[in-house]
């Protein structure tokens, strides 16, 4: 018997919003005390698009833009997920009807939410049953190929939301600064799944990065993913395990970065989907976004430590793990 449980994720915002992510890059839920990854159990995943446009974006434009975003995720060579357009619908996103719908809705009350993804999951397995994405028509939108000043790029935001739609949480691969008017402004990011969107007019988030590719491949691995490697280890401060540290593996040959978090009481982390080769590991406090963009409010995340590099070159083997590394950080 299915007991659907709705989860709400808001992402790609001017200001990060909460998401119940319990695992790096992937959503998780607790089912009978066991942590389960939220993902689709079957592909292709069928979706419908709303027949409603907004100024500057017709329904056909909308369908094309989200189609390109779905195609980007589907094109990841090491992931097996596929998507299929089921058709155009007059239904709005957000109705729990078993049909995954993407469309516009006007939510002026959510004045920092550009778009949001809702889930229905099978509470016994964690399998996704439905996922809806709404784009807030209270903001100006654009599908112009080069972007449009003052308007948010629909394809970029759709790419982020479809990451959530597929089961990915937020990535912390981004740098931000606090705005005097409240919230944060993203300065740079190296993941489409960074919780804060670039400013209007930007089309910089139309391309998936290594971190996004690792995440979706980890969720839906295909045969090629088996040749990728991983880094695992433990972060401590004053000899005690540290929860919520952001750990980044940097490939010294390709320059690609993939991030993860210490996610348990032992301060352990594991970052998968890495190209075999030599890596530098950097550990930083999670201070570039609101903590509840990554973890639920019950978690105590330690951000009182200095950015630290592991002092050994980390060897990531083909299809294997680096072996546990131990990173010690110190207080700020």
């Amino acid at each position: 018997m299915r007991r659907p449980l709705a989860l709400i994720v808001a992402a790609a915002l001017v200001l990060g919003q909460s998401s119940p992510a319990l695992a790096y890059l992937k959503f998780g839920v607790s089912i009978r005390g066991r942590q389960v990854t939220v993902k689709w159990s079957q592909t292709p995943v069928r979706y419908s698009v709303s027949n409603t446009g907004v100024p500057g974006v017709t329904a056909a434009d909308f369908q094309d833009a989200v189609g390109r975003a779905f195609a980007s995720w589907q094109a990841v060579p090491t992931a097996s997920i596929a998507y299929q357009l089921a058709g155009v619908t007059s239904a709005s996103p957000g109705s729990d009807d078993g049909v995954s719908v993407l469309g516009f809705r006007s939510r002026p009350d959510l004045d920092r939410v550009l778009a949001s993804t809702n889930f229905l999951i099978d509470s016994s397995t964690g399998a996704l049953v439905e996922s809806d994405i709404f784009f807030n028509s209270a903001f100006p939108w654009s599908v112009a190929s080069a972007g449009e000043a003052g308007k948010f790029d629909l394809e970029s935001i759709a790419l982020h939301e479809i990451g959530h739609f597929s089961g990915l949480g937020h990535s912390a691969l981004g740098e931000t600064e606090l705005r005097t008017t409240g919230g944060r402004r993203v300065l740079s990011a190296e993941a489409v799944m960074c919780p804060i969107a670039f400013t209007s007019g930007s089309i910089a988030s139309r391309t998936l990065k290594a971190d996004d590719i690792a995440g979706v491949s980890d969720l839906y691995p295909d045969a090629d993913f088996g040749t990728e490697g991983s880094v695992s280890g433990r972060v401590t401060k004053d000899g005690q395990p540290l929860f919520g540290a952001h750990v980044v593996a940097f490939n010294a040959a390709t320059g690609q970065m993939v991030g993860g978090f210490t996610l348990n009481a032992q301060g352990q982390f594991s970052i998968g989907g890495l190209s075999p080769g030599l890596h530098v590991v950097r550990v930083e406090p999670l201070d570039d976004a609101e903590l509840d963009s990554f973890f639920d409010g019950t978690r105590v995340v330690d951000i009182d430590f200095r950015v630290t590099f592991f002092d050994r070159v980390v060897v990531v083997p083909k299809g294997g793990d680096s072996g546990e590394i131990a990173v010690k950080v110190v207080r700020k």
């Binding site: 740098e175 740079s188 075999p276 530098v280 950097r282 070159v313 060897v315």
Partner: protein, 223 residues
Amino acid sequence: MRWVGGLALVLCAVSSSAAAQATNPGPRFNAGVGVLWNGRQPVGDKAATETTATGGTSTLFNTSSDLAGAAGVAGRIGVRLTRSLVAEVEAAYLKPQLRIAISGDSESAAAVTAAETIQQFTVGGGVLWYLPGREWSPRFAPFATAGGGYLRQLHEQNTLLETGRYYQFGGGVSTLLVAGRHFHLAGVGVRADVRALIRSKGVAFDGGSKASPAAGASVFVRF
């Protein structure tokens, strides 16, 4: 300087004194073993960057990597082809450190050099040519060498292997310390040489060929 365990097999190069060479082609085979040193090789710089709203890049930190200079063991076997020309095969084993210097962190992390020790094996061959005009010294035989071979670099924990090729050219001198038949040996001598070493593939973050100086000293026997 830390010595790597394990004796490298090796082989080659023999030489003989200039005087002996001048009057007698000498024994046909030579074998030698010794030490070598490979100089530092930069292996590439790479910045960790993030994308900005305009599609530009913002640097999170910089890395600059090299293979540190290292000493190792080497050996050779040589076969005299003509009075002045010797064909050699050689093998060597070193344990250089790969160092990645990390600096310029955008959040002011302390600069760090991350390191690991690599096991490097080479097997190759080449020719040694005794230079003409050796009359300046009756004891020393100057020579020039050129060759190349296969390179194998094994990272820590033996989980990642990189292979490549190397090419080298240089020169040196050899001298016989003991000449004449003793047991089965026709002579014992020493040899020193310097080389320019060019490596293709192997550890190279930027994909290019790498050059470094190298030097060696060995004891050899003729038989």
